[in-house]
Subunit: 236 residues, 2 copies
Amino acid sequence: MAGRKQFDIATALDAAMIQFWRSGYADTSVDDLSRATGLNRSSIYSSLGDKDTLFTRCLERYATRYGDKYDAALSRAADRPLAAVRAFFDVTLDRIADPGLPDGCLVAQTVMATPVLSPGVAARAREAIGLQHTRLRTALEAGRLRDETAESFATHLAAVNQSLAVMSRAGTSADQLRAVVDVALDALARALGASDEDATSLTGPRPVPEHDEGPVSDASRTGSPPATVASRDDRI
Amino acid sequence: MAGRKQFDIATALDAAMIQFWRSGYADTSVDDLSRATGLNRSSIYSSLGDKDTLFTRCLERYATRYGDKYDAALSRAADRPLAAVRAFFDVTLDRIADPGLPDGCLVAQTVMATPVLSPGVAARAREAIGLQHTRLRTALEAGRLRDETAESFATHLAAVNQSLAVMSRAGTSADQLRAVVDVALDALARALGASDEDATSLTGPRPVPEHDEGPVSDASRTGSPPATVASRDDRI
DNA sequence: CTCATCTTGAACCGAACAGTTCAAGATGAG
DNA sequence: CTCATCTTGAACTGTTCGGTTCAAGATGAG
């Protein structure tokens, strides 16, 4: 195994990312990374850098991969803001439901470890959280929410999304995680005005169905591919 | 410093708890604990047990201390469910605002580290999360919410409460954390029925004020003591 | 004062840690 | 085949880890 050939850096990065994702920075040793990637310690240092550098690359990879999915989900916000936000949460819920991926969220875990991480890594994680807020804020404004309301909901929805990372690690079932999201979506539906979006009607009699959102949300919930990590190309 | 006298175990436990709270289990060494408590390594082992035992005691201490506060906040749920839940969140927001305490939440941090913690510790942390759900569920039922709605909101509100731990570590301001909570409270107010509780009216014109909740919530928001950790007796 | 009790600092152990280096060997391009 | 290139296993360094032990000394009850 040498000569001109090279191992697949993308695959190795994915394996390292999943290792950090599951165990966090402090509880991941270079030996763990060696085992997870199947690479020798020497190869890791020569090809992926030291532990801190590798973690940064994994965090960047994670942020880009799921950031793109969140962006795609919210891209229809101008037309169908509620469906867009529902699709946004489906990105997270699908990821958690994927048995090939750890529970939780690499960004959330990194942010929680902020006080003991290198400043650069901590800043990058905070930046990722801020980007989620910006994404949601932009989408909600495109969905014609009042500025003040868009700001409040963007903050709220970003927080609810992060809460899924914590709750999924606490053993909360997929149905319960869905309930967490549905309450937030219901509140958003009311803020958007009950007339142009369907609500899940947690708090009262369901309004006459407008049948313009249901199919879309169903499609976004069940029609997405399994999203296996290894099936993606290297992004960095 | 010997003979019959003894150091204050309660104070030492508080210091250890804060150290674990800030840095997490993996990133806290026994030397860190020694430095934080001012106790010698020998004294820690003889009086507080090994690292795992000590962490369990700290987790128990944390869960009891704030569990009592959450219970007290929700105790008025039958009369004023919205004010009770607002007071519930104020427990968390006040804790985060306290400059003498770390951001985040020991339970949330422990739950996030579940895959790499001893099974007993992980189970205890999960149990604490479940207890929060039960607290809220009971309170909401006492507040005469429909069973199904109470269940959904209990799950949602428990998640939102955990989200504050993540967001506070991401540098989110106190005002933004308040916004996260306010959106959830607004949704709850609507579920409870706009007639007997005041809403913060994020989504439309404010209804005629009923002036039965405002003073209570203001008092619970600003009238609580600084809640310094060191001022409590040992609970274990 | 006497002496049992407790705290303290320091040392020690085996293990795991991050990080680095290097010779040996496998590989494939020419 | 030849040989430059790359991977590999292994070893090594210095540090920190959790955990334990112990003698010295401080203390206060009797």
